[in-house]
Subunit: 156 residues, 2 copies
């Protein structure tokens, strides 16, 4: 983020539309920040699927991200690039073993992401996250008005 003002700030409607478009992109990764009980941050890029309400990720059951998610029930997600960001504070709503995932979820994930955890061997899980807060901004002139969703409700 920098205090430059290169372009007009977008309207709330435009930011929401841009955010939904970013979430619906194919083969896109999201940065996933989680924390351990002793307060150490972890950060990894993971493929993303979006069902219109929820973020669906897949990761290895033995990963630090999964351990942190299970413990805290929370993650902070970011879609880039860094000067056109969407930040999502989300809560964990379910965990589904890749071997037991409903076809609807598994197919939706495989369609948007460019890989299929069901084909990737043992040990993968889907995690379903519900956004509580979504913010979007490009440069400093978009810091005002950056909050698009609060307490799980779109403001626009």
């Amino acid at each position: 983020m920098s205090p430059m003002e290169p372009e007009e700030a977008r309207s709330p409607e435009q930011r929401k539309a841009d955010t939904l478009a970013k979430l619906a992109q194919e083969a896109v990764d999201v940065w996933v920040a989680t924390a351990s009980a002793d307060g150490e941050a972890h950060l990894v890029p993971l493929s993303l699927a979006w069902d219109g309400d929820r973020v669906i990720l897949a990761t290895e059951r033995r990963s630090r991200t999964f351990a942190n998610l299970q413990r805290s029930g929370r993650a902070r997600l970011a879609l880039g690039p860094e000067r056109d960001v969407v930040m999502i504070d989300a809560v964990l709503v379910s965990v589904i073993d890749a071997g037991m995932v409903p076809h609807s979820v598994g197919d939706a994930y495989a369609a948007q992401a460019d890989w299929d955890p069901r084909q990737a061997g043992e040990g993968f899980v889907y995690v379903v996250l519900a956004p509580e807060r979504i913010q979007a901004w490009r440069e400093a002139n978009e810091i005002a008005g950056r909050t698009l969703m609060r307490h799980g409700k779109w403001l626009t």
Copy 2:
């Protein structure tokens, strides 16, 4: 990250060269993940400067990122895009009030970043971070060999 194998995996030398080039880019932001004492992750994009050994960031003294950094002394940094990543685990080595920063540091930051915290009013601090571990990968075929620095020492 996806289990595709679109290109040849880069050599360690190439990954190091690419990593140093990314760190030296002008007007680039880095994702900064930190954690609070109660295990909540925070994640923000911040402008980056690199002096050849250390990452220099600037942020508001009252930010959550700064509070988390001061408490834990650690951050996990990521340079994107998400499928050409550099991940840096770093420790905090110093904090310098923007009003008291040596010219050499302030000028180096302003030259690489596209803003100058010294001109941005009260309340900004520089934080200097020493990388302990650096990893770089593009796709799943680069997971092997992703570690370029360990315990603060380049392996190549």
